[in-house]
Amino acid sequence: MRLSELQHNFLDWLASADDAVAARLPLAGDGRDGLAIYQNNYRGNLMACLADSFPHTLLWLGEAAFEAAAARHIDRVPPSSWTLDDYALGFPESLIEDYPYEAEVSELARIELALSQAFIAADAEVLKADQMGDVDWDRAMLQTIPALTILPLRSNADDIWIALAHEAPPPNAQWDETERPVLIWRQEWLCKMRRLNGDEAAMLGYLIGSEVPFADLCARAIGRWGEQDGIARIGQYLGQWVADELVRGVER
């Protein structure tokens, strides 16, 4: 058997545990006991990855329900990245399929995923409060740090996460059609989360992914709230963003 075919069949067997596929492997001797070790490692590693990546989702669902959801995910989605950590990426989507009428379940998982991604996101030099007086604001370009994301939640998953993290009784799940943006970011080495109002989320979201002239941000705010209120709001938001170490500044 060619190496390529052997490797294809071996992985097919790991994913399916199908005896007919195992029978296609050219093993020396019986080999079934040895194969069982690899099968156990494969599923065990993926299960452990999901349990480690989503500890609060596990608490919320309970062990049996979480393991059932993880097992369905493993059956549906074979791992493809070189790093096991990436196997967590698709789990929140799977939970939407498993719990279509309980939005807090997948949103709790999305919070945990965003926190772990912020933990290892690229470092960046942030704009500090004591540097603001030196900035030429007419030429300033702003951008959020890489370790930042805004999740548009429709449930109170953030309140549930906070309660579980403090080992307090979690609130009952609530959800509706109103978007509740939640900001997740890393400040030095500590990951943080806070709720945003829609206006602040819109302005901060404008700075995600690319450098934006400060003048453009002000123009947006003025277009939205008028000159006086728009400038006041941007000043207020920027002060908070700098205090939270959310933005990096570049002058051109």
Binding site: M1, L3, L11, P79, W82, T83, I120, D123
Partner: protein
């Protein structure tokens, strides 16, 4: 090399794996080891605390990078994104050793995240050698390739694992990382002689030796890295040190990780064996 970093160890060196329970000890810089070994993939991330910890540990200790995901036996070759990330980490950390395993972990887009066994055929040998050559070209340095532990063998094997490994080293110029626990586990599981294995190893290619413990499973030994190094593995180390007295020796402990003094005590045993091997090597009557 930046002056703030320690130079690679010369001669016999003794190290431990950098594991979370011991981060603080290593950050304080007072652990009596010659180097630390880190799992490369744990630090192949864009930034954050893991990279910061590695940078700080690197100021006080030479580092060996040990990979688990290169998939050197993949029939469809190596992944460019993996090699690029590993290269970036190597450029930053300047490790004195970069190693991975004689195994495969991936085929096409499906990754098993386990060290899967290769058939020891001429075709697989060509694949492994081509992949080692490619990795060494991209990384700009020689790799050490580690013998795996395994639980199955293939009916169409055309050579032994030790002959396969020796031929990979001869054809590619790579070094070898000899895991004497893996030799013991595989010898027990497949019924070959550990002595035959070691007798065939080109010791001039051995740059590092791994020690670990294993577990007796229902049907075979399992490479668990969750207990102290057992006597049969120490015996293999004694033989290996006679052949490769300059190799860097380290203890792998990945589960049930004990307090640091316990691992340092085991490392002292390895040091004493190395001294004994050096004395025997210096005595022409032995």
């Amino acid at each position: 090399m930046p002056s703030s970093r320690l130079a690679p160890p010369c001669g016999p060196a003794f190290g431990l794996g950098l594991r979370k329970p011991h981060y603080q000890d290593f950050l304080e810089g007072a652990v009596p080891v010659d180097f630390v070994e880190v799992i490369a993939e744990n630090f192949m991330v864009p930034g954050g605390r893991p990279r910061d910890i590695l940078r700080r540990v690197r100021r006080d200790y030479p580092v060996a990078l040990h990979g688990v995901s290169m998939s050197i036996g993949s029939a469809d070759g190596l992944r460019g994104d993996y090699l690029a990330r590993l290269k970036a980490l190597i450029d930053e950390v300047e490790p004195f050793i970069v190693s991975d395993h004689l195994c495969w972990t991936r085929h096409n887009a499906h990754n098993a995240h386990d060290l899967l066994p290769l058939p020891y055929t001429r075709e697989a040998l060509d694949v492994v050698c081509a992949n080692v050559d490619h990795a060494q070209d991209v990384l700009g340095r020689a790799l050490l390739i580690e013998n795996p532990s395994s639980y199955i063998a293939f009916a169409h094997d055309e050579m032994s694992e030790w002959d396969f490994l020796a031929e990979v080293a001869r054809r590619t110029g790579c070094g070898l990382l000899l895991d004497v626990n893996n030799i013991h586990v595989s010898a027990s599981n497949h019924g070959f002689s550990s002595a035959d294995y070691l007798a065939a190893i080109p010791f001039d290619r051995v740059g590092q030796i791994h020690l670990a413990g294993h577990t007796q499973g229902k049907h075979c030994l399992i490479d668990t890295h969750d207990r102290p190094v057992p006597e049969p593995v120490w015996a293999l180390l004694r033989t290996a040190l006679a052949g490769a007295p300059q190799a860097a020796v380290m203890i792998e402990r990945d589960d049930a990780i004990p307090p640091l003094p316990e691992l340092l005590g085991e490392l002292d045993i390895a040091r004493a064996m190395a001294r004994g091997a050096a004395l025997e090597g210096a005595n022409p009557c032995v």
